[in-house]
């Protein structure tokens, strides 16, 4: 059993970590940050939850299985790269539009931001996949290895 205090720490820290990641993602184009660091921050939250509770709990923080996150991240970044072709542009043109919304004044909607989301998603997937593979406790087997032992077959990677 993990430490109750650490579990409390996890409970308290994970939501701010996620918010901070969101901030880094959105601020990244204008301030230090960006998709990579944002993804790593989410990953840090995942690691914290894995340490405080279990890897299985940690993976519940993610919208999808780690490898699916990998695929989605790369796919999204790739599609952003190709999207401008439809408008007669070139690959990775990364266009942006400035719109004026009520309350928010001028907001720049950039393709680069969507690209960064893909980056972030992929980075989260990377750390989650690694955690899933290695597991969270000392010398015992990882969740994936445990699945193998349970199902009597080689486990698939989530």
């Amino acid at each position: 059993m993990t430490s109750p205090l650490l579990r409390d720490g996890d409970r308290i820290l994970v939501p701010p970590l996620m918010l901070f990641a969101l901030y880094l993602l959105m601020a990244g184009h204008n301030r230090p940050g960006g998709g990579f660091v944002a993804g790593l921050t989410v990953a840090a939250a995942v690691v914290l939850r894995a340490q405080a509770r279990s890897v299985d709990d940690a993976l519940k923080l993610l919208p999808a299985a780690p490898v699916t996150m990998l695929a989605a991240g790369l796919g999204l970044a790739g599609l952003v790269a190709l999207a401008p072709i439809l408008g007669g542009g070139g690959v990775l043109d990364q266009p942006f539009v400035e719109v004026t919304l009520p309350l928010f004044q001028k907001v720049k909607l950039t393709a680069a931001f969507v690209f960064d989301i893909g980056v972030a998603g992929l980075v989260v997937g990377v750390v989650a996949a690694v955690l899933d593979a290695f597991g969270d406790t000392g010398t015992t087997s990882s969740p994936a290895q445990a699945r193998r032992a349970r199902d009597g077959r080689r486990p698939e990677i989530r």
Partner: protein
């Protein structure tokens, strides 16, 4: 529900702090961001609920700050003194009073930052702290100091009513 609302507001506050911009748009965005996080991030349930009593909370913060400074001073003295090499502490068990159970985490943290004591662990029952006391001769004093923190924290944040008919206070942790 209320608890989630409080979390959204706290997160929105953090959002505004991060952007360093008190514009309406930022606040709204912060609320949205907070909602998003609360809606999507699973937070495990807890058997402990908190409330806030502002005056008592301030008193707790003041006590804590004073103790932090005092504890720092004591460590500085110890480190720079010739006794440093003999500083062998002891581990003690400290059972949290039932009414202070809800503020267990706060107590555990505070203990670590106050003079001569350091929370090492919580026993599996969740109610007994294992505390390292720096000065083996000062165990009773340490207990008193922990006890003082405990009661101040409980007065500031713990619901005094029995859990069954507790009113919906502002819930944080």
């Amino acid at each position: 529900m209320m608890r989630r609302g409080a979390l959204v507001i706290l997160l929105a506050g953090m959002w505004v702090a991060l952007w360093g911009d008190l514009a309406l748009g930022t606040v709204v965005a912060g609320l949205l961001a907070g909602l998003l996080v609360v809606a999507t991030v699973p937070v495990p349930a807890s058997d402990r609920q908190l409330t806030i009593r502002p005056v008592a909370a301030l008193a707790f913060v003041a006590t804590f700050a004073g103790m932090l400074i005092a504890s720092t001073w004591s460590v500085v003295r110890l480190v720079l003194s010739s006794r440093a090499g003999d500083a062998h502490g002891v581990l003690i068990a400290y059972e949290i009073a039932p009414e202070a159970y809800a503020v267990r985490t706060l107590i555990a943290h505070s203990v670590s930052l106050t003079p001569g004591t350091l929370t090492v662990d919580v026993q599996p029952d969740g109610r007994t702290l294992q505390v390292h006391v720096m000065d083996a001769d000062a165990v009773p004093a340490a207990r008193r100091s922990i006890s003082a923190l405990e009661s101040r924290a409980a007065r500031a944040f713990a619901p005094t009513l029995p859990p069954s008919d507790r009113p919906s206070d502002t819930e944080v942790a």
